[in-house]
Amino acid sequence: MNGNPDMRALLRVGGLEKRFGENAVLRGIDLEVTAGDRIAIIGASGSGKSTLLRCLNFMELPTAGRIELDGVAVGSERRRGDGSIERVYAEAELTRLRRRIGMVFQQFNLFPHMTAIGNVMEGLRTVLRRPAAEARARALVELTRVGLADKAEEYPARLSGGQKQRVAIARALALDPEILLFDEPTSSLDPELVGEVLAVIRSLAEEGRTMLLVTHELGFAYHFASRVLFLADGVIHEQGSPEEVLKHPREARTQAFLARHRAFSF
């Protein structure tokens, strides 16, 4: 369409704001994500990292601002009574959009009444209405990718935390999302299980997938990310390469934040 498709932003966020009542959590986020970008989002607890991620797949509706996916703005403009303009979002549009943006949660949120493969098939069956055999075959491919083909028939209650999170990743992958969002995917895992999940995420990075990842694992962020965002006061306070942001931060806030996370090693 316009210019080199490789240079076009896959996701473009402009002036994104999110308020919960009086609490202005996001105060103007501008962000461009190009295909293949791996973005690590860091920041203090309560700085709005999860909220930003959840706005990107519209689990939370932005209070203001606009989000474009592949050059198409989500929602439509409407003029309020007082003449100001707001964006409105049709639920059907958001539902379709969420298929294209996968999300992995801190608490896994697997469906406990379905087996591992049932979890991975669910989107293919119910949302994309694929035939059972096809969905099963595809789900098995994704379970194999995360190293859990042999656990296909297990219920989540019988899986370890690391295995649950890998099934959750397979569940997101099954829908062929253009973008993957991870919200602290290893934060609720026992330390010895963190590695297996990070290894899966690393392998997705090697495939060139577009990913945004909120994490407190700064060491992982350093190796994983093509770009690091430091969130503070509801804005992107500092951003750049992992080298720049994590090793040679310019902003005092970033430096203070990193000082408190001295524990990480590259």
Binding site: N57, M59, E91, A92, T95, R96, R98, R99, G102, M103, F105, Q107, N109, L110, F111, P112, H113, E122, G123, T126, V127, Y155, P156, A157, R158, A168, R171, A172, L175
Partner: protein, 225 residues
């Protein structure tokens, strides 16, 4: 010393058997209509749309807060006058206990649905499910599992409460037992047998429900948490 004599009761056992069948009929009908109707009421109440939620809430509260006997009388005596249809005792009993069960199940469904953690909704929505798809595929199956003990409890309670239908001359087990007692002059024996029949049926349901709970507990999630 009282001389027990069960022979006249056993000779007329078919009367009691018919009564038991009728008790099953009204209990089964009430469950068959009460469960889906209760789900519909719960969903209506959960929509948050006043036009749906308000009438559903009213119906639920009215039937939960009035005595079953009053409801039964109302359906049997008042409704026919209002809408000019003759109600058979069975129709009145089935209507009363269906709606009353629906009101009860609506609250059980609602409790079960809201007890499912938010993350389950979010996981469903995150893979592109609509609200109703997430409800049907993710939330309800888990909610129903948690509600099984309450369902069973209600089914048992219902079977006992249906003894009220005798007052509108519906020939349930208790009604038949009364008839038989007057016919045989053996009220002690008749009522003892009737009590035994209730016990056997209800105890069987109770055992089945516990077995069901255990089986569900094995396949992954537990019923109650």
């Amino acid at each position: 010393m009282y001389q027990w004599d069960f022979a006249p009761v056993l000779a007329n056992f078919d009367l009691l058997a018919l009564g038991l069948l009728n008790t099953f009929a009204v209990t089964g009908t009430a469950l068959a209509f009460g469960v889906p109707l209760g789900l519909a009421l719960a969903l209506a109440r959960l929509t948050g749309k006043p036009l749906l939620a308000w009438p559903a809430g009213l119906l639920i509260e009215v039937f939960r807060t009035t005595p079953p006997l009053v409801q039964l009388f109302w359906f049997f005596f008042a409704l026919p006058i209002l809408i000019r249809v003759e109600m058979t005792p069975f129709m009145a009993a089935a209507a009363t206990f269906s709606i009353q069960s629906a009101a009860f199940f609506a609250e059980v469904f609602r409790g079960g649905i809201v007890s499912i953690e938010r993350g389950q909704w979010e996981a469903g929505r995150a893979i592109g499910m609509t609200h109703s798809q997430a409800m049907r595929r993710i939330i309800l199956p888990q909610a129903v599992k948690r509600m099984i003990p309450a369902f069973m409890e209600r089914a048992i309670e219902l079977m006992k409460t249906t003894t009220l239908v005798a007052v509108v001359s519906y020939a349930d087990l208790l009604y038949q037992a009364n008839e038989l007692a007057q016919k045989t002059f053996r009220p002690l024996e008749v009522l003892t047998v009737a009590a035994l029949l209730y016990f056997v049926c209800i105890f069987a349901v109770s055992l089945a429900s516990r077995a069901l709970e255990r089986r569900l507990a094995v396949s992954g999630e537990t019923t109650v948490r």
